[in-house]
Symmetry: C2
């Protein structure tokens, strides 16, 4: 490819509404252009990157035995009504009426459509298992689209759906997809982690997210860095183990201390000159599934002062809940939040006190006194306050917690979710009556898995992971071109022109995806463009070097360029690209 026959449109400055570095760089490098909020055109340079992602995903899905098809973007409302999601989905489901006033959606996902295909086409256990996938444009009407293609409204996804005769066979395919996704993200040259994820209302452990690691990621991930551990989970899900240490005997007497205006654990700890780990935080919630005011409806959850409540775990333990209002707290405890605690509750028989595992081995701790401006010190379970009604895992893990696999201490990092695999089981198949005849000739509901990859989001995530002050640093597998040839004076020097043209031909013959920058631009401007675009390998063709039969090579991450014998350049680059 020659730059003069391609389209390069770089910008000196990123538009001010681009918040994160990948969005800024994608605009500056001319990969995308905004058409409307969360809706982007992929310019030729960006489309090459998108297609490289798409092709690797397709190759690996095919290798794993999945079969590609293509479902429509526009879907009739009837199927969504049948699955129940027409009502469940919020306004991010784009609904519209056609000219005959029939209801449709622009699909944000295709469980309904594929299940409809499966129930029509698959009749017998002999036709199972089958795994269908597509790479297709989706639309989700985000209330606040942002971060460019990372949280756009129109986006490209690979979505796959597998159908099985049994849960065991679904689990086999799920493991195969876990391995396939690992291969895909490895081939893409990304640093990533597969993490156990929450399965929401489905339950079970059958869901993993694949995260590209990046500080700007929206998700927090707990992982064990030990070499022999592969533990990783979304912080929402990672288990906080019970502490190994047992509760120490009380040493202090209970005391009421004046803590005016100190409603946060950190502030009370500072006032008392104690570590925040000595504080107990009391959170009041109400359980929506019980009648208002019934015993146990109003609950207190005790956490160590430096820990945070995990709402997903709490929901699993208590069922549907919400935080109590100030009014409700005042009525139950006689005091505003900030000074509440478990000691001497007025309506103790009505209030259920839960404690996180980390709290239950604390002694001589500090908590609210249930009186405004006062806290209690030297509090001890058994002596001053009854043992809690239930002890369990109510909190988010923090760095330094033991890994649930027993292989070390957890660390926390941030990630961008780029893949998600999920054992749907029979959720959609049952709703849409997607059955097959089993070996006994009886109709049986299919087991289903689903497997998504955010194809366009991967481009953004790769840039979050690979960039510097000069621009993007693409992994070679994703770069729009693997090599750029920059001639010094293509339009002035016959020798330079001939050498550059010859190199382009030699690289093409070697199967290397190269671009020759034959624009009539200043060298500094060409260098800046290609550093910004993030092409990983650069070869400069200059008259001086040519006199000695040499070309200048520089890798995108290299500090210095090096001179190479011209004849060796193709083999040298092949070696680099295979690294």
């Amino acid at each position: 490819m020659r730059a003069s026959q391609f389209f390069i449109s770089t910008l000196k400055e990123a538009p001010s509404d681009a918040e994160i570095v990948s969005h800024q760089l994608m605009l500056r490098a001319g990969l995308i252009r905004r058409l409307a909020g969360g809706i982007y055109s992929w310019l030729p340079m960006g489309l090459r990157v998108l297609r490289k992602v798409e092709n690797i995903v397709r190759e690996e899905m095919n290798r794993a035995g999945a079969i590609e098809l293509l479902m429509p973007a526009v879907q009739p409302a009837e199927l969504w009504q049948e699955s129940g999601r027409w009502e469940q989905y919020g306004p991010e489901l784009l609904r519209f009426k056609d000219r005959h006033q029939r209801d449709f959606v622009i699909g944000p996902t295709h469980e309904e459509v594929i299940t409809d295909i499966a129930r029509r086409e698959i009749k017998s256990y002999r036709q199972l298992p089958r795994h269908f996938y597509q790479i297709q444009t989706k639309f989700r009407d985000e209330i606040r689209p942002r971060f460019g293609v990372m949280r756009g409204r129109e986006f490209l996804m690979k979505d796959g759906y597998s159908f099985h005769t049994s849960f065991a066979d679904l689990q086999r395919e799920y493991a195969s997809m876990h391995a396939t996704y690992t291969r895909i993200f490895s081939r893409l040259g990304l640093q990533f982690r597969a993490v156990a994820a929450d399965t929401g209302s489905i339950g079970g452990s059958g869901s993993h997210e694949f995260h590209v690691l990046a500080d700007s990621g929206e998700d927090a991930i707990a992982y064990c860095p030990a070499a022999d551990s592969d533990y990783a989970a979304n912080v929402e899900l990672a288990e906080a183990l019970a502490p190994a240490a047992t509760r120490a005997a009380p040493e202090l007497m209970l005391a009421n201390v004046h803590t005016p205006g100190k409603t946060r654990c950190e502030d009370v700890a500072a006032l008392l000159d104690l570590p925040v780990q000595r504080m107990v935080k009391t959170i009041a919630v109400v359980r929506n599934e019980l009648e208002v005011g019934a015993p146990g409806w109003f609950c207190l959850i005790l956490l160590r002062g430096d820990h945070d409540l995990n709402e997903i775990k709490t929901q699993k333990l208590l069922g549907d809940f919400r935080f109590a209002s100030d009014e409700e707290i005042k009525r139950a405890i006689g005091c505003l939040p900030g000074y509440i605690g478990p000691v001497d509750l007025r309506f103790a028989h009505m209030i259920a006190v839960y404690a996180d595992r980390a709290v239950i081995n604390m002694s001589d701790f500090v908590c609210g006194a249930n009186a405004e401006g006062y806290h209690l010190t030297g509090v001890n379970f058994g002596r001053d306050v009854p043992e809690p009604y239930q002890v369990d895992d109510f909190r988010n893990v923090v760095a330094g917690d033991p890994s649930p696999d027993g292989k070390g201490l957890l660390e926390i990092c941030r990630g961008i979710e780029v893949g998600h695999i999920f054992q749907l089981r029979t959720k959609y198949a049952a709703a849409l009556k997607c059955t097959f005849l089993n070996e006994s000739g009886q109709p049986q509901t299919m087991e289903m898995g689903c497997y998504g990859i955010g194809v366009s989001r991967i481009v953004g995530a790769a840039i979050e992971q690979g960039n510097d002050e000069r621009g993007i640093i693409f992994p070679a597998a994703l770069a729009p071109f693997e090599v750029v040839i920059v001639p010094m004076g293509y339009h002035k020097s016959e020798a330079v022109r001939a050498a550059a043209d010859r190199l382009l031909g030699d690289l093409a013959a070697a199967g290397i995806d190269a671009i020759l920058d034959d624009r009539d631009e200043r060298p500094g401007s060409m260098f800046a463009d290609w550093d910004l675009i993030g092409v990983p390998h650069r070869v400069v063709v200059g008259e001086r070097g040519l006199k000695e039969g040499r070309l200048e090579y520089k890798g995108r991450r290299d500090a210095e360029a090096q001179m190479l014998a011209a004849a060796e350049v193709p083999a040298f680059l092949q070696g680099r690209l295979c690294d």
Copy 2:
């Protein structure tokens, strides 16, 4: 590929709502499935065909120097308001509001979006010309979608848009695209014709449609079959030349004949035992651009009895017009249509009489007498009726008319439009202020071309052109697989299994796209499936043949199978596929 790892879903009968053969066969062969009216899923078998079309289109567009990008399906209303098409477009433009009540469309075409990109990204004549294209899903809310993917609502298109500094450069690119489209449809193995098309409100001759020839086509095409002629035009546009013969002298006297109940030319001709070519048909229209009742508002157009009015030509000659109502005709002429004619008009000074070129050299003709139940015979211009106000080309050409290029006589065939190239000139660029700085540093509006190919429609058109009573006959370039290997007893005979597996490997090594049918089905059922699906080459592996080292070959169009030495089969098939 092995059938057991693919997805084959054939039907014995086509659903009753499939009207044309390609739609029936696409459903029966399991290429597509209906999701909603005009909205189809492409099953794995169909997607392979679609991708083959897509890849050939992409290769040839790239070869011609066009640059691929990808624009969104969802477009903001603002751009359509700027171009004026928000108002001009009818309900086939799917409009919707997002969750913030902003107006959007699902794009049926992308002139606005690409022009917006060009006006932002292209500043100087040095960046021109540029040709951008995409292969992308579009939506058009057809009032009556039908014929499967031939007139669907959601469909796949290649749409390209070129930008130029001058009309001359647009014409150069237009000629290059004409050649590129010719190469694309040739490579696809289709019988097609490029025809001059109507350019609507743009004017000029800068538009060609590419039609796949098929009896079921919605368009009528006039073409000259002479070997040295490449004349072809949509019948809407083809010029009907003036007859070479001059008007003969009158021989008959004017006579009034009783023709009760005969209002059609054919019926009058039959009654009088005259050829219909001796009749003159009189059509009454009114010109919307004149004031009602003004002189020339009411017009008569005279056509030869066997000719039909061409409304597009009439519109170009008379401006906006409509057919006169019975009431208006009665008021102007004193008689109902069926018996009207140009002789002795009551309000002759108010009525403009136009004649088609074929009428003006007629003598002793028959026309309506302007009295119910009567026609005049022996009518002659000059003697009985004044020469018409204007003579021009008002009619559709018919088979046997002279070709406008003077190289023979026209024939008429039917075609399916699969491509359209168009010199847009500055229509969109002017509306959207898409300018560049020319060599003098002055802003100048870009010249634009646009070039479309109906990718999904091509699949249907190819099947309309290639089918028989057993199913589809795909050109090899479009077939989902080039070769099918059908083993007789794959699960019973070790020798058959080994030979079939070996052949599959050998064909893959030879670069042939083959499928091995390893399903446990009866031979007749496998043969029927692959004939239905339209795979062009079939190799049967049977124990009897193997004993002599032979395999059975049959081309999809062949009447008889032939036996080949097993070792020669790959080379034989390569030869067939290169034909």
